[in-house]
């Protein structure tokens, strides 16, 4: 039989381990009790649909941050992907090569390939010249936005077939939003990769200490390039979902998404120093931000106040993670 002290210790470590879940539960409970229309199935599904665009990228960003990298150009990649999908679909149709209904598949593939190429480029510059991804992707953010604006001439491109809206706005069995299903699929894939594969362990090792990882036989360059490609491909996928929701592609899409994406990852407990973080934590971070945003809208909170709340949340999350990390290091030292 456990003593009272052991039980207290168990509760303490459990509450630390599941802090995000506990906070989310408390906020959700408060919203259930106070916000009109919060605790309804359509609203819960709506929250999942709303968080898909940033959520899909967040899982890729989790891989990148755990691997010691970051990508600030994801917002612009959304815009480029959406513009490319709509433009290529329209061009194929106009040239008589294939109708919009089928041409859009080619366009989506092209958008994903362009995302892959951007990721490869970022990875090449990162590993070949040892320039921090913070700087590379900040520069690429402008390049990609400019490219999207050039391709679209600054106008929204609307050449997309009717069926395409299913990808961003459809429902399965007339209930479950299709975007939420994309989110869950991407979550499952990234979760498996990061938790059950050799590559996942390599990402943690590279992010924790690249030199040690290299000495233990891990191809650090390959790992870094793959995680940067993953973020960009997922950003391109998010652009496809957004263009399907809005039924157009515009260079104005995705503005500021990098902030939401990184927020979700940090709130989920991933450390910006690399090597520490969980895909499940990011999932909780995404849901947490979605619930907060939804709750603020239901209460009619203004945009200025929303900025403050979001900013404070990130600050507290970082503070909390730092304190936890410090206490962990302290505990290791005392052992």
């Amino acid at each position: 039989m456990k003593s009272a002290a052991t039980r207290n210790l168990d509760l303490s470590s459990l509450s630390k381990k599941y802090m995000m879940e506990i906070i989310l539960f408390c906020i959700a409970l408060a919203l259930v009790l106070t916000a009109p229309g919060f605790f309804t199935l359509p609203n819960i599904l709506n929250i999942f649909r709303n968080v898909t665009l940033t959520g899909v990228i967040s899982f890729g960003m989790t891989m990148a941050i755990i691997g010691g990298e970051i990508d600030l150009s994801v917002g612009s990649s959304i815009a480029l992907s959406a513009v490319l999908t709509a433009t290529i679909t329209g061009a194929l149709d106009k040239a008589g090569i294939m109708p919009m209904e089928t041409g859009v598949f080619v366009a989506m593939a092209c958008a994903l390939v362009v995302g892959l190429l951007i990721g490869l480029w970022n990875g090449f510059i990162r590993t070949r010249f040892n320039i921090p991804t913070f700087i590379i992707t900040l520069a690429m953010l402008n390049v990609i936005y400019g490219t999207a604006a050039l391709i679209s001439h600054g106008f929204p491109v609307t050449t997309l077939p009717d069926w395409y809206s299913w990808i961003g706005a459809g429902r399965v069995f007339g209930l479950f939003p299709v975007p939420a299903i994309w989110l869950l699929i991407v979550f499952a894939i990234v979760y498996v990769i990061m938790n059950l594969t050799r590559f996942g362990r390599e990402v943690y090792a590279v992010g924790g200490n690249p030199e040690s990882a290299r000495l233990s036989g891990i191809n650090v360059t390959r790992v870094k390039i793959i995680i940067l490609v993953a973020v960009q491909v997922l950003a391109a996928f998010s652009g496809i979902i957004l263009s399907a929701q809005v039924m157009s592609g515009s260079s104005t899409f995705g503005r500021g998404y990098e902030m939401d994406v990184i927020s979700a990852v940090i709130i989920g407990g991933t450390s910006l120093v690399g090597g520490i973080g969980k895909v499940w934590g990011t999932f909780m971070g995404i849901v947490f931000l979605g619930v907060i945003n939804n709750g603020m809208t239901l209460f009619g909170v203004g945009d200025f106040e929303k900025y403050i709340v979001r900013g404070l949340l990130i600050l507290f999350a970082v503070l909390f993670n730092t304190i936890q990390l410090q206490s962990l290091q302290k505990a290791r030292l005392t052992k």
Binding site: G37, P42, L53, F155, P156, Q245, V246, F253, N293, N294
Partner: protein, 326 residues
Amino acid sequence: MKKILVTLMVVALMVAVGGTAFAQAKPKVAGVVFQEDQFMKLMQMGYKDAAIKAGFDFYPGNTNGDAAKEAEFINTYLTQGYKGLAISPISEGASMKVIADAAGKGLLIGISNFTLTNAPYITGAFTSDNYDLGKTCGKAAVEFIKTKMGGKAKIAILQFKSLLPEQSGARVNGFLDQVKTLPGVEVIADQDAWLQDKAITVGGDIITAKGATLNLIFSANEGGTIGATMAVKNAGKAGKIFVFGFDGSEQMVQLLKDKADILQAAIAQDPYGIGVKTMEALAKAIKGEDYSATKAKTVIVPGILLERKNVKGLDAFLADLKAKSK
């Protein structure tokens, strides 16, 4: 040989510099907007077409809503000897001091998308009357509420007050002052969402929370209107929630013709016309012609109401828009 090469390079450089100087013999004018949307793009096209027609070299700029960038642009034009500037300022508080200073130093300035208050140094301000546009859209909504909704409506507003409070407020007030004349009308939500993706999210949140009672959304700009319409469609509320909005574009016309019957009317401005008129007045001032008709005055450029029921009007608007966009 080396001397010959150096001489050739110097000659080439002189020719290039001379050519550039010759090319720059035309007066230089700039056209600056503050966003990258279709409205601003068309306005800048208006600036450009009128500037080229007047025989100027045209240089575009975009401040992206950044007051510091706006001041930087204006100071650059001033020091680089530009003759004139057509600009859509960010706001009265943030922009007019810098504009007044530049005008005081000799830069001729025309203003777009803005109502002047005490600015004698401006060659002319050309704008839509935001309150009036909101009012026109409101009148269309009143008719719709009376005939299709039994005179009752629960309304959600999507606007851009944290981006441009004066414009957003004028549009929303113009709309509300009309619809609130009906006793059965009530505003049940008011949020900021001016980009399409954000409007889908915020619109979706409002619909799921208040979907049982909500039956009309008014959005004060293009992105908000498209986002709100798509949010209604995505939520499967077509035929139950109707949208009234602002601005005109190809996609807006598509939505106004869409069988889903969600977007009912939108008030479109004439950004291209605003741009052309601003640059024309500026050109007169640069050329030393009489521009007293517009000097220090605000000239209202009327908008056009795009309605679902007026298909011919929609087609005509779209054809005109495509011609200007080329």
